[in-house]
Each structure stands twice: as C-alpha cells, then as structure tokens.
Symmetry: C2
Subunit: 96 residues, 2 copies
C-alpha cells in the first residue's frame, strides 16, 4: 500500500512543482505541454514512457498532434503520493 501525501508534502507542492496544478474534484495533478509538431510531442511521450516503466508508475495522458496532457495520481493510494511527485519531477527535468 502506498501512502497519500501528508499535509506537509501537500503544502510544498506549489513551490516544488510550479508547472503542475491540482485537478478539480480529484486528488491528482496535471500539466499541459505544447510542442512544435507531432514528431516533437511523440519524442517527449517516448521519454516519459521510459520514465514510467523505470519508476513502475504510469500517467494518465492524452495527445492531440502537438499537445500533451499528463495527469498523475496513485491508484494504490487513492490519490496523490510521493510516486506522483517523483514522476512529475522527472518529467519536468526532461524539459531542462
């Protein structure tokens, strides 16, 4: 069982992950990304897929041509956990 983020961790989310926003009506965070075209978006998706497998934690995500939306939440925890924070940080790091 994975534990949900405690109050201290939640208080630090906005500062630690400034590009991610809380999802309305769900214990999750999301971020939108925009690229030059599908090719660039797909390259990014591939890199995130590698991160997801390495961390054994997978996003809910969608793509429409050059746009990507990623939502993170931990099914086993019933909401946000350290796994989401870790994956979000790794995704942000891809963008430099």
């Amino acid at each position: 069982m994975v534990e949900r983020l405690d109050a201290t961790a939640r208080a630090g989310l906005a500062e630690g992950l400034p590009h991610w926003t809380l999802v309305e009506g769900r214990d999750a965070i999301r971020r939108e990304f925009r690229f030059r075209d599908f090719s660039e978006a797909w390259g990014f998706l591939c890199r995130v897929a590698l991160l997801a497998e390495a961390q054994d934690h997978h996003p809910e995500w969608s793509n429409v041509w050059n746009r990507v939306e990623i939502l993170l939440s931990t099914h086993d925890a019933g909401g946000l956990s350290e796994r989401d924070v870790r994956l979000a940080r790794s995704i942000d790091a891809l963008l430099g």
Copy 2:
C-alpha cells in the same frame, strides 16, 4: 480542403469499421483497446504513431496503463473524412 464523408460512405461505416462507434455530439469515431499491461499498450501506441506520421493524419488519443482510447476526426474537414476511415482501417489491421 478535405471533404467530409458523404451519405453513402457514412452508411457503410458500421459494416466497414464494426469496432468503431460514432461519438455523441461530434462528427468523429472512437475505439477502445485493452492490453495485458503498459508495455503492450505502449507497443501498440508506437505502431499507431508510425501510421499517423506516414498518413499525415493524427489521432486524438489517451492511455491509462493497459487501456487506450483513440478518437478520429479530420480538423481540416470539420468532421469525418476518408482520412479517418483509412487510419481506422490501418489501426484495425495492426490487431490482425
């Protein structure tokens, strides 16, 4: 400009693409796919990405672990066109 499907083409959709359904409130078709795990789903997504680039026609799609949803519609036509039918057929062919 790409032309929207005419009445004859639309009448043949259900028979030609039996796994795809019309989307409520939008001129589009969709299909859901389920795989053993993320790895298998991702392999499928990669193959569809190659089709999309080859046909210069891209899906609106989402993935949650072993589940994939693909929606097809043609932006330039403001709805369903031959491009969607072609891509749907190619996607179906991947699954044998």
